[in-house]
């Protein structure tokens, strides 16, 4: 039987606010344990939460970016359970009435586009961390993270393969970083994923029983965990068994998922509206204000790059991977005023390659858009060849000087004086009678040899088109 996987993702996005969602304590990562937890974060008696408006603003920003309904009135609820890193014994979350309603996100996969539904996104507070190492059989509790604002983004069960799930996750990651609402740092837990997975016979409309894989924190592991889980469920069903609704943990070392708790063991969270917080009421003005702050979104910019610059979809996708990269590319195009495809190639190949080798981000690039544009202008106007340009680029990278200065200093200006090139060609023809004879006898691949000799003699500065034309003429002319 052929099986169809059905996947939905719940992604927890840490929002980039300076202070916590219900207290004034800092959200900065990496401080010594429990130094960024105030009385409210510690759940001290008599303390009360006050909602951080900045978190609401970021949530609304996300909602608008996925064209979702923004709830004019949403409600914070308490999710009750006991755990040592949950100081109040409940997590303040949104349950029945979330701030962001139905929206959608478009993913690109193998040249196809697919619209993935977003069910909802709600605000909640993060818990602290339990540290099981270094405490000799005890558990350490670090509450620095407690109260950090999270936006939990729940997708519709629209994903049909591990690849689609990862494409969606990456697209969402790109968007929240693009919007500046999340730093996207997956190692530090700023972007975490739970996956709901089920399988059904292809063509069947009803969903199969699903399992939930908790807290998978890299794109690669999400893909592998889902793949494993799909195969496991198919094995179970094909051997006549039934899938048990349960929560499973992914073990990256063994590349398998393991049961954590079954439906029967599932917590009863006893949700009820938090009486310490009034319903969150969002005005039209607030929404419009946030809407005005929205940047051009990645999908729109992707389409514009294709349309406006004639880029190939793949190139447009690469160049809109991050807002900073796409901004850089556009700055280069604007200032170089030459073929956008040349700009695209340089940004994607030379620049990105150099950045990768140096382990730098685009906004740390030693060559800024202005200087790269200066270099590309010299390629476009024939001052230097593409090959020389690579040399100049390396020099720019190391020196901080601009292209014109380097071309001047190093004497790299292309030789386009036909007379000068002819003179060199004549010398080379004279110096290599044997090769000339062979070429003229039909060994045409020797042409490359002559080009090489000319380039060597001019240290690569001769205009390649002119060299080709003149060489051809001279070599044939002699015959």
């Amino acid at each position: 039987m052929e099986w169809e996987p059905v996947i939905g993702l719940e992604i927890h996005v840490q929002l980039l606010t300076r202070s916590k969602i219900f207290s004034g304590a800092s959200t900065a990562y990496g401080a010594p344990p429990n130094t960024q937890a105030c009385a409210i974060d510690l759940g001290m008696p008599g303390t009360l939460p006050v909602l951080n408006e900045a978190a609401v603003r970021l949530a609304v920003k996300f909602g608008l970016a996925v064209e979702a309904e923004i709830a004019r009135r949403s409600v914070f609820a308490r999710k009750n359970y006991f755990y040592p890193d949950l100081p109040k014994g409940y997590q303040i979350s949104q349950y029945e009435l979330p701030v962001v309603g139905k929206g959608h996100l478009t993913i690109h996969l193998d040249g196809r586009e697919k619209r993935i539904g977003i069910t909802r996104a709600h605000l909640e507070e993060d818990a602290g961390k339990s540290l099981h190492e270094d405490f000799h059989g005890l558990t350490g509790i670090d509450l620095n993270r407690a109260g950090t604002p999270l936006l939990e983004i729940v997708s519709e069960p629209d994903l049909r393969s591990p690849e689609e799930a990862v494409a969606y996750m990456k697209k969402l990651h790109q968007l929240v970083v693009w919007l500046g609402i999340c730093d996207g740092n997956m190692q530090e837990g700023s972007f975490r994923c739970d996956a709901n997975v089920s399988v059904r016979p292809l063509g069947e409309r009803a969903f199969g029983t699903r399992t939930e894989i908790k807290n998978v924190n890299s794109f690669r592991f999400v893909e592998r965990a889902i793949q494993f889980e799909i195969e496991r469920q198919i094995r179970v069903l094909e051997s006549g068994g039934t899938v048990v609704q349960e929560t499973r943990l992914y073990d990256a070392d063994r590349d398998e998922t393991r049961p954590m708790r079954t439906k029967e063991e599932a917590f009863d969270y006893r949700y009820f509206p938090d009486p310490d917080l009034l319903p969150l009421v969002i005005s039209e003005d607030f929404i419009e204000e946030v809407r005005r702050e929205l940047p051009e979104l990645p999908e729109a910019r992707y389409r514009r790059f294709i349309e406006q610059y004639g880029l190939k979809p793949y190139d447009a996708e690469v160049l809109t991977a991050t807002r900073a990269l796409s901004d850089y590319f556009e700055a280069v195009v604007r200032q170089a005023a030459c073929d956008p495809k040349l700009c695209a190639n340089w940004v994607m190949v030379e620049l990105s390659g150099a950045l990768n080798r140096a382990g730098l981000e685009i906004d740390q690039s030693p060559v800024d858009a202005d200087r790269l544009a200066g270099l590309l202008r010299r390629i476009a106007d024939g001052t230097i060849s593409g090959k020389i340009a690579k040399q100049v680029f390396e020099l720019m990278w190391d020196s901080g000087k601009d292209a014109d200065t380097l071309i001047e200093e190093k004497g790299l200006k292309q030789i386009t004086d036909a007379g000068a090139i002819e003179k060199i060609i004549d010398e080379i023809i004279a110096a290599n009678p044997k090769q000339v004879a062979q070429y003229r006898a039909g060994k045409e691949k020797l042409f490359g040899f002559f080009v090489g000799q000319v380039m060597k003699a001019t240290q690569g500065k001769a205009n390649p088109q002119q060299v080709n034309a003149l060489l051809k003429e001279k070599l044939q002319g002699g015959g």
């Binding site: 008696p45 939460p49 100081p87 006893r270 009486p275 009034l278």
Partner: protein
Amino acid sequence: MHTKTLAELAQGLKRREFSSRELTQHFLDRIRRHDGTLNAFITVTPERALADADAADVALDRGEGGPLTGIPLAQKDIFCTDGIRTTCGSRMLDNFPPPYDATVVARLAQAGTVLLGKLNMDEFAMGSSNETSYYGPVRNPWNTDCVPGGSSGGSAAAVAAGLTPAATGTDTGGSIRQPAAFCGITGLKPTYGRVSRWGMIAFASSLDQGGPMARSAEDCAMLLQAMAGFDPKDSTSVDRPVPDYGAALDRDLRGIRIGLPEEYFADLDPAMAQVLEAAMAEYRRLGVEFKAVSLPNIGLSVPAYYVIAPSECSSNLARYDGVRYGYRCRDPRDLEDLYLRTRAEGFGAEVKRRILIGTYALSAGYYDAYYLKAQKIRRLIADDFRRAFQEVDALLGPTTPTPAFRLGEKTGDPIAMYLSDIYTIAVNLAGLPGMSVPAGFIDGRPVGMQLIGDYFAEDRLLNIAHRYQRETDWHRRLPPEFA
């Protein structure tokens, strides 16, 4: 000095007839002498009190300070006091010194008051007799075999016995008004949101409200003036100007209409009815008109309350887990053992009962039938009051069905205990302001009349109570043993 009202004490201090230190020492002496009998205090803070008093005297000597400068007060031990242990009447917090002041504490300190200590109360404010306190019951100064009421029993007893000129209390279902009635003092539960809950240890967040307990309406007005107002640290506090409560006290009552809820008088004890009749007669002389009104859903208050309050409490008290502060069981074997024994040993029976009720009521499959239903009833009750206040300026009824009962009389019967709040609970469910005003005695034990006002009509309530107190002296009476 312990027989004077706050206004009288303030005048004496201002005129330097006595210093705040002398006044404070007087009350500290009375606490030492009498509190062995009453058990109204959990913690007495003499050093802090005398330091506060000295600071107040410096201000007063310079002719500075406000109406409360140098006045000694005691705080119900539910209000967090920076560096001073705050137990909430529970073993769970026996060792808990908060690193912050409740807003109420901070505001009263800012107003120049002197902190005498922390007052006994039912554990986590759950009780109507002060018998659930880990620190033992408080006794009623009028009859030490009787309870002072609860949960603010320590506050009521201490004020009645002249161990403090005034105190703070909190009221979730009657915890200011019922003990005020039992002890013959005046207590005001403000509109929900009028007084900040920051630093006030939560029992049921949507019902809890702090308020003043004192000898008179005038004293309550002075205290409320300092306590009330918006607090950015409490999202449920209301950003609305605080009126001048003192200025409203003497307003004429002619033409005022007071409603008499039929349901409050239907099965009323005849002695209590007589007390209220006498009070009404007094009011008629002041030009008040009475009108019968109906609150048809009021009979559902106690059941609705005993779903909502325990539900919220089951969640509010989840933080007491032995992990970060407060009581922790000895040598926990593992996490589960830590939770189970800490909470089994740290909480008393009544608190556990309510956590169990609340946990049940919020459980999957029961939520709609209990919690949601109770919230709907709550809305109906609030609507009943809303309709009544379209016709009248205030409501009058009994605070309690009976005067103070004997210690131990109801501890074996939780339902009977819960029913002692039958007249006060609806006010909390609706979020309205309510007062208890001493109105007479039954068998030598004081009883109170309850005045209920519209939202934020504390000024009107205080006015109605004050004009009554200008004509009567019930609030001036002192328990003989403590005179």
